[in-house]
């Protein structure tokens, strides 16, 4: 359950506990899912109970929330944003569009499986998922974190070549800085 082999376990537990209870969200508001985030956070569902909190920039954020379909043009920005985040970092895919393209299955500019391009830790299905399911998705993520299984960032780093290949396949003009955690 540790992913930093050099550090001691007890420290790890504390760290994971803190990480679990302090998830700062960078909501990448694509698609219709963007509208589901405000109810999740506000009075009705009150995501803050779980330590969720909005982060303004990728530098501060822990969770990247992809809230719907991704056009290839948007994908490029999402990848950029993800790479600017600092590990440990997690990705949550929202709705069926990120899983299999959903209603955009035959579009000429929308990707159909997010996990080919970014390491997704948790998918929340639905079109769109309601705030309840969003919260349950976060709880799942918290579970994974405390078990030390939410290691998407490591996966990404390890399999960077595979991800890059996929990414470059849809983004023809690849002009981006190198990945720098």
């Amino acid at each position: 359950m540790t992913y930093d082999k050099n550090s001691k376990k007890i420290v790890d537990i504390i760290q994971n506990f803190a990480r679990k209870h302090s998830l700062w969200i960078l909501a990448y508001g694509t698609g219709c899912g963007a509208i589901e985030v405000p109810p999740t956070m506000t009075s009705r569902y009150d995501g803050e109970r779980f330590g969720l909190r909005g982060a303004a920039t990728p530098r501060q954020a822990d969770v990247l929330l992809i809230t719907g379909y991704l056009a290839t043009k948007t994908l490029k920005r999402v990848i950029r944003t993800y790479e600017q985040m600092q590990s440990p970092k997690y990705v949550i895919g929202f709705g069926s569009c990120t899983i299999n393209g959903g209603m955009y299955w035959d579009s000429y500019n929308t990707i159909k499986a997010l996990d080919r391009y970014l390491p997704v830790d948790v998918y929340i299905n639905g079109c769109m998922p309601r705030p309840e399911s969003v919260i349950s998705g976060f709880i799942k993520l918290q579970q994974l974190i405390s078990e030390g299984k939410a290691n998407g960032a490591e996966k990404y780093q390890k399999n960077l070549e595979w991800y890059r290949e996929n990414q470059k396949k849809v983004i023809h003009n690849w002009k981006m800085p190198d990945y720098n955690w």
Binding site: T57, P58, R59, K76, R77, V78, R80, T81, Q84, K175, M176, P177, N180, W181
Partner: protein
């Protein structure tokens, strides 16, 4: 015996020699001036040991040169700053043209400044004052064609100032018959009240021009901008202090004890405070770094004038302390801007950015400079600011302290803008190949920068000569220790403790943040920023520099609309236009001239009773 004439002769001769050397053996040029200023520094250092004054007479005026503790303070400042500025300029000016001209005027103005501070009579003071004026004028117009009108403006204001001094001198001469400072100081009270007031006002006006007191400051921003950087350092650091030197003498040696003294004090203090306030506002909205610093300079001189005008021992200490500190930090800042100019060719803050990685030492100097200007502990500016505030509050100038504090807080704005726009922000494509300035420029800057820290921790090092100077000015005394300052209400600040605690916390935090996760720090370029996923391309500069303080400008509203400068320009134009009409008195027509002659004759005949008292 090495003394003042030798000093002056040395400097002026070095100027001439440098001029000649430039046209014959250019290699020697820099060596001559640097050696000369080094020796001059030594001479100045050992001057207080010599008690006898130098007396001789020119024409009907007796000339008297001597050292007082007050003049020694300024003399040392001049010597030190000139030394660094000249070393700096040996690199900065290396490939410029007309260097003979440059060094000659440079040395002349240094020599003239020494002359001013060591003069013990008004004639030689004025003599050197004028030499200083024209040599600095020559350097103001040195750079380029655009400097012409700027130089002219500077000269006109200097002339106004110089002529006010001259008028005061002739009034004193006609009243007292002597121009020896000692005599004047002793017998000033015997003059008529109107003459005394006129002399004080005229002298303060005259000295105020050089120290850029509002509303006589309009020449300063442009003149500072146009003069070459090493000289700007002297211009702002030392030359403007000559005005302070004079004002100090006027206030405490002439005006003190007269009936109108409290009014003069009050008015001058307010002028100083408003100068500080408004020049700070103007500085905030400048786009040229040198102009920004020039306005800053005007503001700082405003503090000093206020400090002098308050006239309590603590405030004078503060003013003189700030005088020295301002000399140091403003030279530093101008030198660092010069270094940027040397490498990038511009001082426009909107054009350069992100130089911190290219020019770290220059940045370091600028950083120390701005912290000192801002008066933030632990650097030297704080002690001066602290004493100034304490003295203002404790001498019941409540609203003055607010104005000063306002100006001082607003100063953060332009200081940050200065360092941000030039050194921070994104790196420019154009400045990719910029390197750090040469060693000869860096070393003087760094030495000055470190000195601000030293004086910040141990202000007593400066307070010793200052209290000597205050003793000369009028037996003012204020208690101090090497690193502890006291106010009049019994509070104290212990700078040693302050610096230790700041330094300690800083270093501990630094170690903590650096050691933890040392290997995981990733250094990225300034292009790699959060821009909603967009990747800035290489030639796109996202630095937010233009209209940096737009909100503040909107908040100020129309406070800054009225401009003294425009008023002067308008007046000048009006006058010149009226001259233009006047010159058509000379019609170029012989008959008109003949008519003038006959008319004049007729008038004399007709009104002879009126004019000569005898009717024809």
């Amino acid at each position: 015996m090495i003394s003042i004439p030798v000093l002056l002769l040395l400097i002026f001769a070095a100027g001439l020699l440098a001029f000649i050397a430039h046209h014959t053996i250019p290699v020697l040029r820099d060596a001559i001036v640097i050696i000369a200023i080094t020796i001059a520094g030594y001479i100045v250092w050992q001057l207080p040991g010599q008690t006898s004054n130098v007396n001789f007479s020119i024409g009907m005026f007796a000339i008297n040169w001597g050292v007082t503790e007050y003049s020694q303070l300024f003399g040392l400042l001049i010597a030190v700053l000139s030394f660094f500025a000249l070393i700096y300029s040996s690199a900065f000016m290396a490939n410029k043209e007309r260097l003979g001209y440059f060094y000659m005027n440079f040395m002349f103005s240094i020599g003239a400044m020494f002359g001013i501070v060591y003069s013990q009579d008004l004639i030689s003071l004025f003599f050197f004052w004028e030499i200083m004026t024209w040599s600095s004028f020559m350097l103001t117009i040195y750079c380029c064609e655009e400097a012409q009108s700027v130089g002219l403006k500077y000269f006109i204001f200097s002339a106004i100032g110089a002529y006010s001094i001259l008028t005061a001198i002739v009034i004193i001469y006609s009243g007292l018959g002597s121009l020896q400072l000692a005599n004047i100081f002793a017998n000033f009270g015997t003059m008529s009240i109107a003459a005394k007031l006129a002399v004080v006002i005229l002298l303060i006006t005259g000295f105020g021009v050089k120290s850029a007191m509002m509303p006589l400051h309009v020449w300063a921003p442009d003149a500072y901008k146009m003069s070459p950087a090493p000289y700007t350092a002297i211009f702002s650091g030392a030359l403007s202090k000559m005005g302070i030197f004079g004002i100090g003498l006027v206030l405490f040696k002439l005006a003190a004890g007269q009936g109108f003294y409290p009014y003069v004090q009050e008015i001058l203090a307010w002028i100083g405070a408003l100068t500080a306030l408004f020049s700070t506002f103007y500085a905030i909205f400048q786009t040229d770094a040198k102009k920004l610093l020039a306005y800053s300079s005007i503001g700082q001189l405003g503090y000093i004038i206020t400090g002098l005008a308050i006239g309590t021992p603590l405030s004078i200490t503060a003013a003189l302390f700030l005088t020295i500190m301002h000399g140091i930090f403003k030279s530093m800042l101008f030198l660092s801007v010069g270094a940027v100019y040397y490498r990038t060719g511009t001082t426009n803050m909107n054009e350069v950015s992100g130089l911190i990685r290219k020019m770290p030492y220059t940045f370091f100097t600028a950083l120390f400079g701005i912290i000192t200007v801002a008066g933030i502990p632990p650097l030297g500016g704080f002690a001066g600011k602290w004493m100034l505030y304490e003295s203002l509050i404790q001498s019941n100038h409540y609203f003055l302290v607010i104005v000063i504090f306002f100006a001082s807080t607003a100063a953060f704005l332009y200081l940050y803008r200065f360092i941000f726009s030039m050194f921070l922000g994104q790196e420019e494509k154009e400045t990719e190949n910029v390197k750090e300035a040469p060693l000869r420029m860096i070393v003087p800057m760094l030495i000055l920068a470190v000195s601000t820290l030293v004086f910040g921790v141990f202000p007593g090092l400066l307070l010793k000569p200052i209290s000597g100077a205050m003793g000369y000015l009028g037996n003012f005394q204020h208690a101090w220790e090497t690193s502890v300052l006291f106010n009049n209400w019994g509070s104290e600040i212990d700078l040693n403790t302050i610096v230790t605690s700041i330094g300690g916390v800083f270093i501990i935090a630094w170690i903590l943040i650096t050691v933890k996760g040392y290997r995981k720090n990733r250094y990225v370029t300034t292009k790699d920023i959060h821009t909603s996923g967009e990747v800035p391309t290489g030639n796109e500069n996202l630095t937010y520099a233009i209209d940096f303080y737009k909100p503040f400008e909107r908040a100020l509203g129309s406070v800054l609309k009225p401009s003294v400068d425009k008023l002067y320009n308008y007046t000048g134009k009006l006058l010149e236009d009226s001259f233009e009409h006047l010159r058509y008195v000379y019609t170029g027509n012989g008959q008109t001239y003949a008519m003038y002659v006959m008319g004049f004759l007729l008038i004399l005949f007709l009104f002879s009773e009126l004019i000569f008292g005898v009717a024809l």
